[in-house]
Amino acid sequence: MSRYLLPLVAVIGLILFLVVGLKRGDPRALPSPYIGKPAPEFELPKLKDPEQTVGSKDLSGQLALVNVWATWCVGCRAEHPFLLELEANDTIPIYGINWRDTRPEALRWIQQLGDPYVASGFDGSGRVGIDWGVYGAPETFLVSADGIVLHKHLGPLDRASWESDFLPLINGEGSMQ
């Protein structure tokens, strides 16, 4: 009997390993290498005013969200009302990176659906997107006052993920200060 024990344990171990691998959630949700590290420096012309720029200088000194969005992105439309709600409640400043978009369409979007952003930077070429490791909009980064990336959310932001993933980190930051 005991000679079957070792193979049996090995097979059960393998099955458990594979099951855990399968249940790990969305395989497309990749961990950002920036978590716990300084957010990449950036400076972009503002969407609404190309003469002015928005970038790392605006983020520093406050806890903020950096939201990567585009008008071609379906998930961005889905999360837009929630971003507006965060803005209406003065929850947290939200900075936008308008990624791989065209300026007229992005401006129309803001006009029609509302503007939850303190400012959006216009990244038509996608250069800044690459620096941030963006691979699919919408993506939302939580950046601490000293410029450290605390969390990255992939896909539309909603109340559930806000409460489970963002709020604990935000409260943690508050108690440290």
Partner: protein, 143 residues
């Protein structure tokens, strides 16, 4: 029938033309070779299981553009790989580098073969030490 075959033949002949920007990026064949090697080893993160050489998603095109830029700025291959890993993590590479984290990936195949070999050796030695009559009896029982 013949016309259909002719048509099919021409369609076959045309399809490769719709491929991605496979045109030459560099006049220098050495740079071009480095470029092609790099883009075939970088995963397209939007379309996993494709390299950025094989994908026409705009993110892949953006990454090809960045790699072209870095090569023409005179960056070395390890520097370019670093550039990608800082931004997208080790997952972006089809050939993970040997670091502490990925060591298990590189060693696992050899360890598995080793374990299998040891197990097979033990089973075979056990079988060979069994009396031959036993095998005959087993075969008898199987019938």
């Amino acid at each position: 029938m013949k016309q259909i075959l002719t048509l099919a033949f021409f369609m076959l002949a045309v399809s490769p033309v719709v491929a991605i920007d496979t045109g030459k990026a560099f006049d220098d064949p050495e740079l071009q070779a480095r470029y092609e090697k790099l883009i075939s080893e970088v995963r397209c993160l939007k379309c996993q299981n494709q390299s950025i050489k094989d994908s026409n998603v705009f993110l892949a095109a953006d990454l090809r553009r960045e790699i072209r830029r870095l090569i023409s700025e005179g960056k070395t291959d390890p520097e370019i790989v670093d550039f990608l890993v800082t931004r997208y993590g080790e997952f972006a590479l089809y050939r993970p580098r040997t670091t502490g984290k990925t060591l298990v990936l590189w060693l696992a195949p050899f360890l598995l073969v080793l374990f299998g070999g040891v197990a097979m050796f033990r089973v075979l030695r056990h079988r060979m030490s069994m009396p031959l009559d036993d095998d005959a009896a087993n075969e008898e029982a199987a019938k």
